[in-house]
Amino acid sequence: MTDIASPAPKRERSSLLTNPRTRSLLIQGVLFVAVAVALWFFISNGRANLAARNIATGFGFLEQSSGFDISQSLIRYDDTATYGRVFFVGLLNTLLVSGIGIVFATIIGFAVGIARLSKNWLLSKLAEVYVEVIRNLPLLFQILFWYLGVLAAMPAARQSLSLFGLAYVNNRGVVLARPIFGEGSDIVGLALLAGIILAAAMRWWAHRRQMQTGQPFPVIKTALALIFGLPLLAFAATGAPISIEWPELRGFNFSGGIRVLPEFVALLIALSTYTASFIAEIVRAGIMAVSRGQTEAAESLGLRPGPILRLVVVPQALRVIIPPLTSQYLNLTKNSSLGVAIGYPDFFAVFAGTTLNQTGQAIEIIAMTMAVYLTISLITSALMNIYNRRMALVER
């Protein structure tokens, strides 16, 4: 309020209210106070009403034990854990499905988007059909289709489909063989890390050499050799410390191995394919925004179609692609809450659903839920903005 009340400089002749600077300060001040008052009103009114109706308030519930189980949890969890832990279990489940979903959606989306521009008639028509069909069906329908139509139709546990014994598919999900890390496996891990670092260094060196001398270097082959070769050598040298736990059928279902819930698989497939259909269109638009002359110029330099796409077209297209791509990533993350329809224990289901119902503290839980989705979205878009700035046109 001090800003508003402070007297204007003396040389100012006009009234305070007609001075544009003070007037804008005044309007902003009033708006700020109005917003603060409204917030205070809603909070105090809410508290009074909750107290009058004898509804519990506060965040103490986060320390109470939950008493219910969750089918998928990345951190240790059982029904004696607290609601606070439920919060993190749900959050991690949401991040897991949306993180992997974003990767898959991007890969499928780029592939389909580029395929749609292909000169191969069959390929481009297939890509078009994919986009038009997937994009125009409701997401919830697709989730239910994958869950009830495809995965539930898989055979029962005792007649599981086997994929070379490495993985089994049944109506309870997918069971994968689990690697067991024995003594000495950390050396293999270190070798992998070293391979990745060396590959990155080699790429940087090769790029610099090519810039200076024009000599190309087989970057991809060398990188693959480093990343896979080094750990394999270490694996052999330390006496094969990593073994594999094979899934075994016992009782109702498989024991051993890694179980992937059908809810997770269905949600992941639906989210990735659905978002990919939008990404494909964004990619197509991005590539078409790069003028034809660029490709022709590259062709006239004798570049082959692969390098033209990789070195000339895509880098320029990315400038058009990234901003709408960010929106799709945000959509995918928020759409993951539709998993509630098939019982996937994501954040929305276990926290804004079960926890809310068991504790009845709607206001606190809804506020926390909003804060979580807002934070995830803001972090995603901040990261994409950083990437966008790096890819943006550098004017010289």
């Binding site: 509804i55 224990p345 809310l356 119902n357 009845g360």
Partner: protein
């Protein structure tokens, strides 16, 4: 400057908002809008389910109809809101429904922390398990390692965790938001076991493609006293809700049914005369008319009639009354006297 002062004063005035006076009595609200908004399930045969014409019927539905009969002398002055287990309490707390009659278990936690009051136990139930016959399982203790389908936000979900932990058995829970999703997952083979209140298992079994392929295991693992719920803080509405239920029990106990209620008015038995408002002015104490029980019994029926019609011998479910028999007949349904 004067204009600025006005703004400042207006802003200051805003900081002292009057808190809304606590809501007017639910009875008055209901009377002025002309119907009761009743929260029911999304479709549990026997308790609350719509027929092909969209008319709701069932045990829980009839309770709301009895309430409407007591207030309006018309059992159809009710509008039904189907609610999932997850949304039911929020709907009641926020005033979206006037009463929740949706096979809801009475627990201490819900009674105290959610700002609710439980009216009574209209149905004594317990949690059970249903499995496919082909699995050849005879006891819930053989369920170790099973995946179990249930509904989220229920006491069922909590009892399940207790039961398996207590018996040191492993299991996997798959929790869905609605009854239909749960049943679909069980039918598709996603789960070995479907668990919910035993009475609901009977009604769910009727919805399955071939009901005879499924068995309900003998174990009952919990106490599930089901009953209607009202908001905390409106004692008059709470009293009406309680006594509507008691009146139906007392009517059954005294042999007053929808068929004989008019003759019974001529009875010389003072208990029946009080019940039917021939003597005394007990209904007025509730804010209703003295013939309120006559209205309930003639329009909806007594407790026994409602039970038989929806759940018992007169229904598809054919559930044995068990604990829900009157105390005079070996059950535990007992109502305070109307006097």
């Amino acid at each position: 400057m004067t204009r600025m002062w006005k703004v400042a004063i207006a802003a200051a005035a805003l900081t002292f908002p009057a808190l809304p006076a606590s809501a007017a009595g639910t009875l008055d609200q209901v009377k002025s809008k002309g119907f009761i908004q009743c929260g029911v399930s999304q479709g549990i045969i026997g308790y609350s389910a719509p027929n092909d014409k969209g008319e709701w019927s069932g045990f829980d539905v009839d309770y709301c109809r009895a309430l409407a009969a007591a207030i309006f002398n018309d059992p159809n002055k009710v509008k039904f809101t189907p609610l999932s287990t997850k949304d039911r309490f929020t709907a009641l707390q926020s005033g979206e429904v006037d009463i929740l009659s949706r096979n809801t278990t009475w627990t201490l936690d819900r009674d105290t922390k959610l700002g609710l009051n439980f009216v009574g136990t209209t149905y004594y139930d317990g949690q059970g398990f249903m499995v496919k016959k082909s699995m050849k399982i005879n006891s819930a203790l053989e369920l170790s390692g099973a995946s179990v389908c249930t509904q989220t936000g229920t006491t069922t979900e909590l009892n399940l965790a207790d039961y398996f932990r207590n018996n040191k058995m492993k299991y996997e829970v798959v929790a869905f938001a609605t009854v239909d999703e749960t049943i679909k997952a069980y039918e598709s083979g996603r789960c070995d076991v479907l668990t919910t209140d035993a009475s609901q298992l009977y009604s769910t079994r009727l919805k399955l493609a071939s009901p005879d392929d499924h068995v309900i295991l003998p174990e009952i693992i919990s106490k599930e006293p089901l009953g209607p719920v009202v908001r905390h803080g409106d004692d008059q509405w709470f009293d009406i809700a309680k006594w509507t239920f008691f009146a139906m029990l007392d009517a059954e106990e005294l042999g007053v049914s929808s068929k004989n209620v008019e003759e019974m008015k001529k009875s010389t038995n003072p208990e029946i005369r009080r019940l039917l408002g021939v003597e005394g002015s007990l209904g007025e104490g509730l804010g209703l008319t003295n013939d309120w029980i006559v209205r309930i019994v003639s329009k909806v029926g007594n407790y026994g009639e409602v039970f038989d019609r929806n759940l018992g011998a007169g229904s598809k479910l054919k559930i044995d009354r068990g604990y829900n028999r009157l105390w005079t007949k070996g059950g535990i349904q007992y109502a305070p006297p109307v006097r």
